[in-house]
């Protein structure tokens, strides 16, 4: 079911735009990204899964990428749109570097640029189907923000996308503190990711954690979380259910 807009000018000839299609629904998607500010900077976590509808088709997708010297971008939603965004940012950082004048794009600038891009695409009814998390540290200032596919953008001490909003944010609201150490931050993120692993069906048990500090941006190697399935309720799940 495709939706094309036929455009005709006076000569009855269709313009190039006539057969263009607008984004209707995403195809290969990534699930939640969770990020928090901690004492020395920002921590961000996401799994490496790319779902094709209900199939967990791709299991090695890096959904977090460093941008320039100071920022990291994490994305959920359509993977191809994320790659497109990375191309835009690549161009942006390249042009910024070509000035060669000691100025560099900080996370705040990248976040606002992305907000403009996302909002403009939304206005054309052709959105980039992503929710983006942008974090970084520049000149000692920590920055963490989010942009949605309709251009809603804001900053906060902890953000999450998709299911993360419902499952991870409540945990973070209770347990986040300004002065988390690196280990505490990682533990907190892993707690959130574990809940998502249990409850989000598009999540897979292979995640990366990224760290942003004044020194720079690093993304960890992929690893798995330990899970526990020996809950009594799982051993006999239908006990007490109707008709059992």
């Amino acid at each position: 079911m495709t939706f094309t807009i036929p455009i005709e000018n006076g000569n009855g000839v269709k313009d190039a735009e006539a057969d263009s299609q607008r984004t209707l629904y995403p195809y290969v998607t990534g699930t939640s990204v969770v990020a928090i500010k901690y004492k020395d900077g920002i921590l961000m976590a996401s799994d490496m899964g790319g779902s094709y509808g209900s199939t967990l088709r791709y299991k090695n997708i890096e959904r977090m990428k460093a941008i320039g010297k100071h920022s990291l971008l994490g994305a959920s939603g359509e993977i191809s749109d994320f790659q497109e965004i990375l191309r835009y940012l690549d161009e942006l950082t390249l042009n910024d570097n070509m000035w060669d004048d000691g100025n560099s794009l900080g996370p705040k600038e990248v976040h606002n640029y992305l907000t403009r891009v996302m909002y403009n695409r939304r206005n054309k009814f052709n959105p980039l189907w992503n929710t983006l998390v942008l974090g970084g540290v520049k000149n000692g200032e920590k920055y963490l923000g989010m942009v949605s596919m309709i251009g809603v953008s804001f900053e906060d001490n902890h953000v999450a996308t998709g299911f993360g909003n419902h499952l991870a944010r409540p945990i973070l609201r209770d347990e986040w503190r300004e002065d988390l150490s690196f280990e505490e931050g990682v533990k907190l993120l892993e707690k959130c990711m574990r809940v998502l692993l249990y409850r989000d069906r598009s999540a897979i048990n292979k995640l990366q954690i990224a760290k942003m500090t004044e020194e720079g941006v690093t993304v960890s190697e992929p690893y798995s979380l330990k899970t526990f399935w020996e809950f009594k309720a799982f051993t006999n799940p239908t006990v007490g259910a109707e008709g059992s």
């Binding site: 000035w99 004048d101 000691g102 100025n103 794009l105 900080g106 705040k108 600038e109 606002n112 640029y113 403009r116 000149n139």
Partner: protein, 277 residues
């Protein structure tokens, strides 16, 4: 400079590798009334002489705010200056809108210079007849640039342009080493004293000059007449050595302008061409 057969349009080179139309445009800058800029580590001061054409009229605006962190002072064809100021404001605000961050001064001047260069390489255009002193503050500190009609730009600790600017430059040359660590007040005082040098003996009054300041935690703004007069009062009683009128304006862009017979700076002390002021 004398008329010659290579000066009719800007797209004709002379046999000695000069573009006379561009050089003539730079002459227009020398005709305008003086503008001065100085910078310290944390502040930039732009000042200019306001001479109204007659008692009845008001004076022309020569200093423009481009953004909270950038200001520009012009000398030459003020109409050209106004148009370029509008361009600078536009660039600055577009950058702020997209990146929510102030545009760095260095990048703004390059765009301005590239715009000026275009006019030196099109047969249907003429070079802008205005010199711009762009002062601003960004991540890398305080900056003062001079953009000239040729499309070149240079960074300065202090500079003066326009008629009788040589007198101001001589004053600034004597004192520039202290500017980097100057306090805001001293910087303003130096700017006003430099303005005084260009007045050639005329009494310095606050109505004759416009002074603007910008700095760390201080967005661009003009000083009011009272404040300027107070600064003048602190030194006006002290007799100062008379500086000679500028002879042989050696504009720093000597690379472009062949170091030939420099015209007397601010030619025609009494009359200024009607276009500027």
């Amino acid at each position: 400079m004398f008329r010659n057969q290579y000066d009719t349009d800007v797209t004709t080179w002379s046999p000695t590798g000069r573009l006379f139309q561009v050089e003539y445009a730079m002459e227009a800058v020398k005709q305008g009334s003086a503008a001065i800029g100085l910078r310290s580590r944390s502040h930039v001061v732009l000042a200019c002489v306001n001479k109204a054409q007659s008692e009845l009229s008001s004076h022309q605006r020569k200093i423009f705010k481009v953004d909270d962190h950038i200001g520009v002072a012009i000398a030459g064809l003020t109409a050209d200056g106004r148009v370029l100021s509008r361009y600078m404001r536009s660039e600055s605000i577009n950058h702020s809108f997209t990146y929510e961050s102030p545009l760095s001064v260095g990048r703004l001047v390059v765009r301005l210079a590239d715009k000026a260069q275009v006019c030196t390489q099109r047969s249907w255009k003429r070079p802008y007849g205005v010199g711009l002193l762009v002062g601003g503050l960004d991540e890398s500190g305080a900056h003062l640039y001079y953009n000239c009609p040729s499309g070149n730009y240079f960074e300065y600790q202090a500079f003066a342009i326009g008629s009788r600017s040589q007198a101001a430059k001589t004053y600034l040359e004597r004192r520039y080493e202290s500017f980097q660590e100057s306090s805001r007040e001293d910087l303003i005082k130096d700017a006003i004293m430099a303005i005084r040098e260009t007045l050639q003996g005329e009494t310095l009054k606050s109505s004759l000059c416009t002074v603007s300041v910008l700095g760390v935690e201080e967005p661009f703004h003009f000083l009011d007449q009272e404040s300027i007069q107070k600064v003048i009062d602190t030194f006006e009683k002290v007799p100062e050595e008379e500086e000679d009128a500028g002879e042989g304006e050696a504009e720093p862009e000597a690379a472009l302008v062949a170091a030939g017979t420099g015209e007397q700076g601010g030619s025609g002390d009494q009359d200024v061409a009607p276009m500027e002021m």
